[in-house]
């Protein structure tokens, strides 16, 4: 549970943001200069708001009314800065251990830091430095994490190794995480709550599923980034084809690879652009997942696209079509159609644990 309210004038920029978020990952999403880093700094205690209140899991970190301002070091917030901020005079090993040696072996392994331990930061590549910064924050055994674009300098395979670790922190240790990112797929995968910022203010807050599946949020997220989050249950794993079968409220979905264990709930992000609609039940297609859905909403955007809200059982899906398609199919709320989801488009990056 994170509660943030902060006001601060920075030159001509005014930060005036407030939101509340339940446990889990709270993603801060917004354009460059929207105030994400400033807000994160306020939470960490590096920027003192003129007025406001910041509390994490019931602990008040800052309250201008009650003149509470917990010193940074007592907040125990592991902060991965947008710039790595490694200590240049300490080796990687001594950077990592500066705040503690919590879960050291696993962090070093997961981030692939083993070969770097004796190096000084000046001899690291950009991505290596950002991994060390992440490791340093994780090893300090924080009660909360702030990650400011921690993965933006990393390649896809490396991201794929780190995200599950963050998911485990979110789910097993129940560590609150404030996550700043420009990547909707990262956000979708991790975020419980999505906070959309613009010009220092919070435009929209809510459960990530809702905000992302809301056709009205498409322009905020960027056309390519919109999509829906669905919680599915793992049914079975087919070792021969290396496929995991998931149960949705409206049917089955097949994911490549092994994900979770049977019975476990799993979060999936299905990008609006990866959903195809069909008037008849399709057959002979390489896409294995077809769900009967009901059109709930047809939203014309500014561009050529149409965002179509769908109810798939109790889940909500979002599809993005061209206007011509929508017209030729005669889509209207209440209509029954088939949604085709390509399993390979979902997996493995966008599957939350």
């Amino acid at each position: 549970m994170i509660e943030v309210r902060a006001q601060k004038q920075l030159g001509e920029f005014r930060l005036d943001a407030a939101f509340e978020a339940p446990a889990g990952v709270t993603a801060l999403f917004g354009r460059s200069g929207a105030g994400k880093t400033s807000l994160a700094n306020a939470v960490a205690g590096l920027l003192r708001p003129e007025a406001g209140r910041i509390a994490v899991d019931g602990t008040v970190l800052f309250d201008s009314a009650r003149r509470i301002d917990l010193p940074v070091r007592h907040r125990r917030i592991g902060y991965v800065f947008q710039d790595a901020r490694l200590f240049p005079h300490r080796t990687v090993a001594r950077n990592l251990s500066y705040g503690g040696r919590h879960d050291a072996a696993r962090v070093i392994e997961m981030l692939g830091l083993g070969p770097l331990l004796d190096r000084y930061p000046a001899a690291l590549s950009g991505g290596e430095a950002s991994r060390v910064a992440l490791g340093r924050a994780l090893m300090s055994d924080p009660v909360m994490l702030i990650l400011d674009e921690p993965l933006s300098a990393l390649d896809a395979p490396r991201k794929a190794e780190i995200l599950p670790y963050l998911e485990r922190l979110r789910d097993t240790v129940r560590l609150p995480i404030l996550y700043v990112s420009h990547s909707a797929s990262e956000v979708a995968r991790l975020a419980t709550t999505l906070v959309i910022m613009e010009a220092g203010r919070v435009l929209r807050v809510g459960p990530a599923e809702e905000v992302m599946a809301d056709p009205a949020a498409v322009p905020l997220l960027g056309v390519q980034e919109a999509g829906s989050l669905i919680t599915a249950r793992v049914e079975a794993y087919d070792a021969e084809d290396d496929l995991t079968e998931l149960a949705l409220s409206a049917g089955r979905l097949l994911l490549p690879g092994r994900a979770g264990v049977p019975g476990q709930p799993l979060r999936l992000r299905i990008a609006a652009q990866d959903v195809i609609l069909s008037l008849e039940e399709p057959s002979g297609l390489s896409a294995l997942t077809r769900l009967p859905v009901t059109v709930t909403r047809v939203e014309e955007g500014r561009g050529p696209g149409v965002a179509v809200g769908l109810a798939a059982g109790t889940d909500r899906l979002l599809a993005r079509l061209t206007r011509r398609s929508a017209r030729s199919m005669g889509l209207a709320p209440g209509q029954q159609v088939w949604a085709i989801v390509k399993a390979t488009a979902v997996a493995p990056q966008d599957v939350g644990g």
């Binding site: 070091r73 800065f81 710039d83 901020r85 200590f87 240049p88 005079h89 500066y98 001899a123 924050a137």
Partner: protein, 229 residues
């Protein structure tokens, strides 16, 4: 030893002891003051800064004279200290005190530059990792300010090796006790034909002081090289 007499070697040893003592003892205070001036935003900052620069601005003889006024046996503070067995005037510790004070502005300025050069965002990063102010200072600020700290230390040491005016005025020129190399050189220059002996002493103290400079240089270079990667 033919080349320098035993009294001259005594002066050399004394100078080394006085300079080392002056440098080591002023080091912690110098660091504190440098930190305060670099980062502090307190009321007496300007005054402290002026005070630190004082021995630089004053002719050394005046500094020595003021020390004599403050710490002579007849002065209240000096008497109070003397009762407790601490006598500065006319003793080698006094020479060290004079040298320390004369070198203090140089020490503080260099250290302060070093500390001001430390990126406060690294200190912030350390704070988010749970480090206390003291730990941050010791593990982040000081090591990163090392070039400045080394420079300050070596400047103070070099100045102490060369200090004359304040020392002779405050600590006097007592052979074996306060007659440091610069005082011995002065004495030789007072004696007609003493230039040769004076120059020999100059040479010895140069070798020592410049050796220290070179050593500090090498040290700074080593730590810089690692950081450069």
């Amino acid at each position: 030893m033919q080349w320098l007499g035993p009294e001259e070697w005594a002066a050399v040893r004394l100078s080394l002891r006085v300079s080392a003592m002056a440098t080591l003892c002023s080091l912690p205070l110098g660091l504190l003051v440098a930190q305060a001036l670099a980062r502090g935003r307190f009321a007496g900052r300007g005054v402290l800064n002026a005070l630190v620069h004082l021995p630089l601005v004053l002719p050394p003889v005046v500094t020595g004279y003021l020390l004599l006024l403050a710490l002579g046996r007849r002065a209240p503070l000096g008497a109070w200290l003397a009762e407790r067995g601490i006598a500065f005037a006319f003793s080698w510790t006094g020479a060290a005190l004079a040298a320390a004070i004369m070198g203090f502005p140089l020490m503080v300025r260099a250290m302060r530059l070093g500390i001001e050069g430390v990126d406060p965002r690294l200190e912030q990063a350390a704070a988010t990792l749970g480090a206390s102010r003291l730990r941050i200072w010791l593990t982040v600020t000081l090591p990163l300010a090392l070039p400045g700290i080394l420079a300050g230390t070596i400047l103070a040491f070099a100045k102490a090796m060369g200090e004359f005016g304040a020392t002779i005025t405050f600590a006097s020129n007592i052979p074996g006790e306060t007659r440091t190399v610069p005082l011995a050189i002065y004495e030789f220059l007072q004696v007609p034909g003493g230039e040769g002996a004076a120059l020999r002493l100059v040479a010895v103290s140069l070798v020592l002081a410049l050796g220290a400079v070179a050593a500090s240089e090498a040290l700074a270079q080593r730590s810089a090289a690692r950081r450069r990667g």
